[in-house]
């Protein structure tokens, strides 16, 4: 018996969510009193996982898995899960993890719950709390499979260090031709993605037009943040769809979410609800966002944002 996690990497380096999933897996393995096994595919420094309490690392290194393939990644994880007699498998909620998870649940005939936000409510029966209704509610889901698969919601558990001395073994997998072939990948370079960002700065209709987006971008650059926008802004073509956050757009689970000129429609608030701290800057004190925010500034964005940028630059340059 064991808990198996998939520690995702990009460009041969673990992603932060890999460490969050490892931290969660460690606590879960302690509760179940079993070993924690991590799968690392094409990574250079597997020892990084020793900081998060992993007992055993299964290392897969093959050029055949250089490009992500949901089919072959699911197949590889299923092979390790069977080999290691894993009863619980934990994945993250990245786009790739959410893509391969259903395929893995078929391969393992596993019960699968996505968007899990905490350690299990109960171990026997195995009950997890997960978000639903796009963050407007939670449900308690009982997983009754011989193997249970969990998708951990991003930034829900956090990263917790615990030193271990993992045993490292290599594992080879059969790779088939996926029915779906990657032709090319277009990544925006030099920008933080919404999924990976600790801080997200978002703009709404209150910014009056795409020509004013330098305010959002400058603030984001100052904070090392990703940029996002509300649905009307993407519908009007001011910003690309990939920046639309909300119920039908991207979910945001950052540590800090700053909304500028966003009124706070219920669909927008649902999409950003999983963020830890929310700041709103809006000239309308009646904007619904003020009810959802932790901190608010009632004021003209065109005056407040440039001043905030200057003050943040001074703060960053200061003693902190």
């Amino acid at each position: 018996m064991s808990v198996l996690i998939f520690a995702e990497a990009e460009k041969r380096t673990f992603k932060k969510v890999g460490f969050e999933v490892a931290s969660y897996g460690r606590a879960l393995a302690d509760q179940l009193n079993v070993k924690l096994i991590a799968v690392a595919i094409n990574t250079d420094d597997v020892h990084a996982l020793a900081k998060y309490g992993v007992d055993h690392i299964v290392q897969i290194d093959t050029v055949a898995l250089e490009n992500f393939s949901a089919h072959n990644y699911a197949k590889a994880l299923a092979a390790v899960a069977k080999n290691q007699n894993a009863k619980t498998v934990v994945l993250s909620s990245t786009a790739n993890a959410r893509y391969l998870a259903p395929l893995l649940s078929v391969a393992l005939e596993a019960s699968y719950a996505s968007n899990v936000v905490a350690l299990p409510v109960s171990l026997d029966p195995f009950v997890v709390k997960r978000s639903c209704f796009t963050n407007k509610a939670f449900n308690h889901t009982t997983l009754s499979g011989a193997i249970n698969l969990i998708g951990l919601a991003s930034n829900s558990y956090g990263i917790h260090e615990k030193t271990s001395q993992p045993e490292i073994v290599s594992f080879s997998v059969d790779v088939e031709q996926d029915l779906v072939q990657t032709q090319s990948i277009e990544k925006v370079t030099g920008k933080v993605s919404i999924a990976d960002a600790d801080i997200v700065v978002s703009g709404g209709r209150g910014l009056k037009g795409p020509e004013n987006w330098h305010l959002i971008e400058d603030l984001a650059t100052t904070l090392g943040a990703a940029t996002a926008c509300s649905k009307p802004v993407s519908d009007m073509g001011w910003r690309p769809h990939s920046e639309h956050v909300g119920q039908t757009g991207k979910p945001v689970a950052s540590n800090l979410y700053i909304a500028i000129g966003v009124s706070g429609a219920i669909q927008h608030l649902a999409g950003i609800n999983a963020s830890k701290v929310k700041v709103v800057i809006n000239n309308d004190p009646e904007a619904p966002f003020f009810k959802a925010a932790d901190y608010g500034v009632v004021g003209d964005a065109f005056k407040v944002v440039p001043e905030l940028i200057e003050k943040l630059k001074a703060f960053k340059a200061g003693a902190h």
């Binding site: 699968y112 209704f133 449900n139 039908t248 905030l308």
Partner: protein, 248 residues
């Protein structure tokens, strides 16, 4: 080309979410149900395939008779046939198994689901269906063109997009971007009248044992009041974000 679009019946995006029966049931009182938005983007793309490439479009839902209203709406939008599998959709795996059982008797070239429903947010039906049927699968799909028996697709990834190719048959998870919001088709009176004459077939459930069950719902804890900072006191905001919230 035979296209199947799987439809989920979900509460309107503006719905207040409440629970009844000791927080074990969603409160449908006063709630308007709609076609799951991700599914509707997929349906619109399917109708374009019908208009431009003579595809036959079938819509399917797994649910009780109350779901037939949205199936009729799909027919009014332009789908030719509708199917309802008479089972309660409580578990994504079981829903996919119900759909797979139907698909095994048909020859769909393309099966479209939404990337996720906006109520359960499972994000699993399309992938499980593809796995059960042994078909290729692309989710978060924001681009699709079909030429002969090959599809060219784009998938939204964290921080960009990936361009893919796949042979049919294929399962995709649709989302906004596959078509735009403005492209969604509002049924006209003629479509609504025609929809009444189109076939809506009810198929029996496979009576599967679900792999997951929901025992209870919870609403998020109520939030404390917002702390307002005067617009000429932005240093105070920075101090609060640094010392109190510890996020910068």
């Amino acid at each position: 080309m035979n296209v199947l679009v799987c439809i989920s019946n979900v509460p309107d995006t503006t719905s207040k979410i409440n629970f009844v029966e000791n927080d074990t049931q969603f409160d449908t009182n006063g709630v308007q149900f709609i076609i799951n938005p991700n599914d509707e983007f997929g349906l619109t793309r399917a109708i374009w395939l019908q208009q431009q490439q003579q595809a036959e479009v079938t819509v399917l839902t797994v649910g009780d008779a109350s779901c037939e209203a949205i199936l009729r709406k799909c027919l009014a939008i332009g789908a030719q046939k509708a199917i309802r599998i008479d089972a309660l959709p409580t578990d994504g795996f079981a829903v996919a198994q119900e759909i797979a059982a139907h698909c095994k008797n048909e020859s769909y070239d393309l099966i479209i689901t939404g990337r996720e429903s906006i109520d359960y947010n499972g994000g699993m039906v399309g992938g499980i269906l593809a796995g059960l049927l042994g078909m290729g699968y692309v989710t978060n799909c924001i681009g699709l063109t079909i030429s002969g028996d090959t599809a060219s697709l784009s998938r939204e990834i964290d921080g960009g997009k990936e361009n893919l190719s796949a042979a049919l048959p294929l399962v995709i998870g649709a989302q906004k971007g596959l078509v735009e919001e403005d492209d969604l088709i509002i049924p006209n009176m003629r479509g609504i009248m025609q929809a009444r004459q189109k076939p809506l077939t009810v198929l029996p459930s496979q009576n599967l044992t679900p792999k997951t069950t929901i025992s209870k719902f919870e609403k998020p804890q109520p939030k404390g009041a917002v702390k307002l900072i005067a617009e000429d006191q932005l240093d105070q905001l920075i101090e609060l974000l640094h010392s109190e919230a510890k996020v910068i």
